[in-house]
Subunit: 193 residues, 2 copies
DNA sequence: TTCCGCATGTAACTGGTTACATGATTGT
DNA sequence: ACAATCATGTAACCAGTTACATGCGGAA
């Protein structure tokens, strides 16, 4: 599993709590990796059992204590080992939205175009996030002395943008193709009317 | 979960065994849905318990018996209910390849470009499959009287193609950007050398 | 006063993967 | 002689999701 390795990667940027790691993930890899807090806590525990990370508790006043995890040598070794390990196959994907399009013939075009429009909006929203991250992350990384990481991280954001752009285009085309008469209605405020 | 619904969808095309369903999935939705045989068998069992499908055993000579599942009325009702149900969020994704690119700064450009080249090949392979499906499926669907489904199914294949094309381009660009001197080597047989 | 952010987790469940087991027929 | 295709599954495990529980401080 890779959640362990994702966490090792983030910890290689510096020590953090489970909560911090969740936030970092949401502001960078959200579009290709997701983990929920309870899973992160459990996984950090397992990583401690393998001696990959260290935990220190920082008491705070009038706030819950911070359980700060830091990368240990065996953890760093495991991270570099994993990073070198070649990938044999494309990752498996589970996309229920595309399943609904695939079986669109069961209900007909209207039902499918509703899903397409909704999905298009969601990807437009994601484009906004990705754009924000692209503006924000380089400065943040520089602030932590992580300048070398910038091009790699920007590359993944760029791919995310391209993917969402492709989705948005495809939704548009597909709506047009499946329900030609409704297609205009989905692009409001496009000049003359 | 949607595996149940994926199977309901395929069974709406006609009765099938677990083994048949696996093959059908591999030749159509492979790029956005994957299920392994043991999971399919278990799930079909669960669907029978919910009275969504019927099972009949056909004895064959010199071959294992076929356990054929057929959609029942409650199953069809559940399928249409699910198809109409709106999707609130983009599906969550877990892509370890992009994670390795994201943390590329830990090891440096060479390690990352190896992964990129490999990944590019994998997507080129997938493009071959998708192309084949696009040629093959319309005739097959017509043979089963499923003409109405063709445009929806082709739409998902087209998206798959666009996605893989985007990946291939991005890999190319990213290799060029991260390791400009190695970039030529990755495009062999491109005329002059 | 109500919600959001900080910060921790546990328990139960669902879904997905891997390994194992069987066994005939057909093609290389 | 060996691998692939047909055809079934079970058991154990791993990963991911959902629901629940706690509790302070600050902003709206």
């Amino acid at each position: 599993m890779s959640l362990k390795h994702a966490l090792l990667g983030f910890l290689s940027f510096g020590p953090a709590t489970g909560y911090d790691l969740k936030n970092q993930m949401e502001q960078s890899v959200q579009h290709f990796w997701h983990a929920d807090l309870s899973q992160i806590y459990r996984t950090l525990d397992a990583m401690r059992a393998e001696d990959w990370v260290d935990k220190t508790v920082e008491q705070q006043e009038s706030r819950p204590p911070r359980h700060v995890y830091a990368l240990k040598e065996p953890g760093r070794a495991e991270l570099t080992r994993w990073l070198q390990e070649p990938l044999e196959q494309l990752p498996t994907v589970h996309n229920p939205f595309l399943l609904k399009v695939f079986f669109g013939g069961v209900l007909g075009a209207e039902a499918v175009t509703d899903h397409l429009r909704r999905h298009q909006e969601l990807h437009q929203g994601r484009l906004g996030c990705l754009h924000e991250f692209e503006e924000m992350l380089p400065d943040q990384l520089r602030a932590y002395g992580l300048d070398d990481h910038i091009p790699y991280i920007l590359a993944t954001l760029k791919l995310g943008r391209k993917m969402s752009e492709t989705y948005v285009e495809w939704c548009e085309e597909t709506i047009r193709q499946l329900a030609p008469d409704e297609a205009e209605a989905s692009v409001p405020g496009q000049g003359e009317r």
